[in-house]
C-alpha cells in the first residue's frame, strides 16, 4: 500500500469518527446506524466498511478511543503549566469537567440513553474505567508525586469527576477552578498529608 492511500485511509477513519460524534449528539446511540454515519461523513457504505470492516461496534470503539485521546490531551495541556500538586489537580479536574460537560454526544446520551454511559461508570466496567483514566492521570501527576501515590490520587480524582458528572451539585461546580479547588484543598491535600503521617492509635 502506498503512503498516499495510508493517508486517505486515516482521513476516512477520522471523518467517520467525526461524523459518528455528530450523529450521537443529534440522535443518540440507539438511533445511529452505519448508513447514517456514511451519509453524515459524505462517503459510500463500501468506503466506510473498508475503513471499519467490523462495522458499527468497531466504529463506536474508535469513537471512544478518539474521545479518550481528546480528553487526555485536554487535561495534559491544562496540567502542563502547573508548578505544584495542588495546581496540577485543580487544572486536571476542572479541565476534565469542562470537556465532559461541553461534550454534546455525552449530553445526549446522558439524557436519552443513560445506560450506555452508566454501564461504564458503575460496577465492574467502572473498575476498568478507573484503571485506564487513573493511570493516565497518574502519569500527569508523576512530576509531583511518587508513582504509588500518583496512581492512587489519579483513580480518586477520576471518581470525583465521574460522581459530579452523574450527580451535579448545587454547591460545587467542578468546571470552575474555584469549585475544584474546594475539593482538592478539603479532601485530596488533607489525605496526602494523612497518607504520609503516622497512623494514630
Amino acid at each position: 500500500m502506498s503512503a498516499g492511500s495510508d493517508t486517505s485511509a486515516a482521513s476516512t477513519r477520522e471523518r467517520v469518527v467525526a461524523a459518528t460524534l455528530r450523529c450521537l449528539a443529534a440522535h443518540g446511540l440507539r438511533h445511529t446506524t452505519v448508513d447514517d454515519v456514511a451519509i453524515e461523513a459524505g462517503i459510500s457504505r463500501a468506503t466506510l466498511y473498508r475503513a471499519f470492516p467490523g462495522g458499527r461496534d468497531t466504529i463506536v470503539a474508535a469513537v471512544v478511543d478518539a474521545e479518550l485521546e481528546q480528553l487526555t490531551s485536554t487535561i495534559e495541556r491544562a496540567v502542563a503549566g502547573s508548578d505544584d500538586v495542588r495546581g496540577a489537580l485543580v487544572s486536571a479536574i476542572s479541565a476534565a469537567a469542562v470537556w465532559l460537560t461541553a461534550n454534546e454526544a455525552i449530553a445526549t446520551l446522558m439524557f436519552d440513553e443513560p445506560a450506555v454511559l452508566l454501564t461504564h461508570l458503575e460496577f465492574e466496567r467502572m473498575d476498568r474505567t478507573l484503571a485506564i483514566a487513573g493511570s493516565r492521570l497518574a502519569r500527569l501527576l508523576s512530576r509531583h508525586l511518587d508513582p504509588e501515590t500518583a496512581g492512587r490520587v489519579g483513580e480518586w480524582v477520576t471518581r470525583l469527576v465521574v460522581s459530579y458528572l452523574l450527580f451535579p451539585s448545587d454547591e460545587i461546580d467542578l468546571c470552575d477552578p474555584a469549585g475544584a479547588g474546594i475539593l482538592v484543598d478539603r479532601h485530596v491535600l488533607a489525605a496526602l498529608d494523612a497518607l504520609h503521617a503516622p497512623v494514630a492509635g
Binding site: 445506560a115 474505567t129 492512587r152 480518586w156 478539603r186 488533607a190 498529608d193 494523612a194
Partner: protein
Amino acid sequence: MSAPARLEVRERILEGTSRAICVSGVRHTSLTEIARESACSRATIYRHFPGGRDELLDALVDFEHRRFFVRLAQAVESATTLEEVVERGLMVAHRALIELEVLQIVLREQPELLEPTLVRASQPTLRLIADFLTPYLEAHGVLDEATRAAHADYLARMVLSYISAPGRFDLTDPDQVRELVRCELLAGLQVHAA
C-alpha cells in the same frame, strides 16, 4: 384484599422472581417458574403486574435496590463512631453486592434493566446515605451545619462510588478499608475534629 396483604403478595412475587432468575437467567425465566417460586397463580401475578414482564422486572430492580439499603443500614446501625460506620458500611455493602446473585446475573445478561433505577434512584440514594451519615458527623465534632452537609455529600458520593467499583482497593481486607477511610474519605475532617 387489604393493603398490607396486597403488599405482602407483591413482595412474595418479587422474591420469587429473584429466585427464578437465579435459576434460569433473566431471559429464560418464565411466568410458570415465577408462579412456582412465589407460590402464586399466574392470574395473581398478572393482577399485580398488569404491565407484564417489563413491569415486573422494573419493580424487581427497585425492590432489590431498596432492600439492599435497608439491610445496609441495619448492618451498620450498631456502629458508634464515624470511622466505624463508614468502614463497616463499605465492607458490608461490597460483600452484599457481590453476593447479590440476581444483580450479578442482570449485570451479565441485561444491564440495561438497571437503567431506570440507576437514573431514578441514584440521586435519592446519595441523599439517603448523606442523611444517614449526618448524625455520625455531628458526633464526630463537625458542629457547623453547612460544613456537615458538605462532608455528608462528599462521603455519600465516595461510598456510592467505592461500593459499586472498589478499583485498587480490596474491600474484603479490613486494613485496606481502614487506610482508605482514614485518607480518601475522612482526612478532610481532621481540622474539624476536637
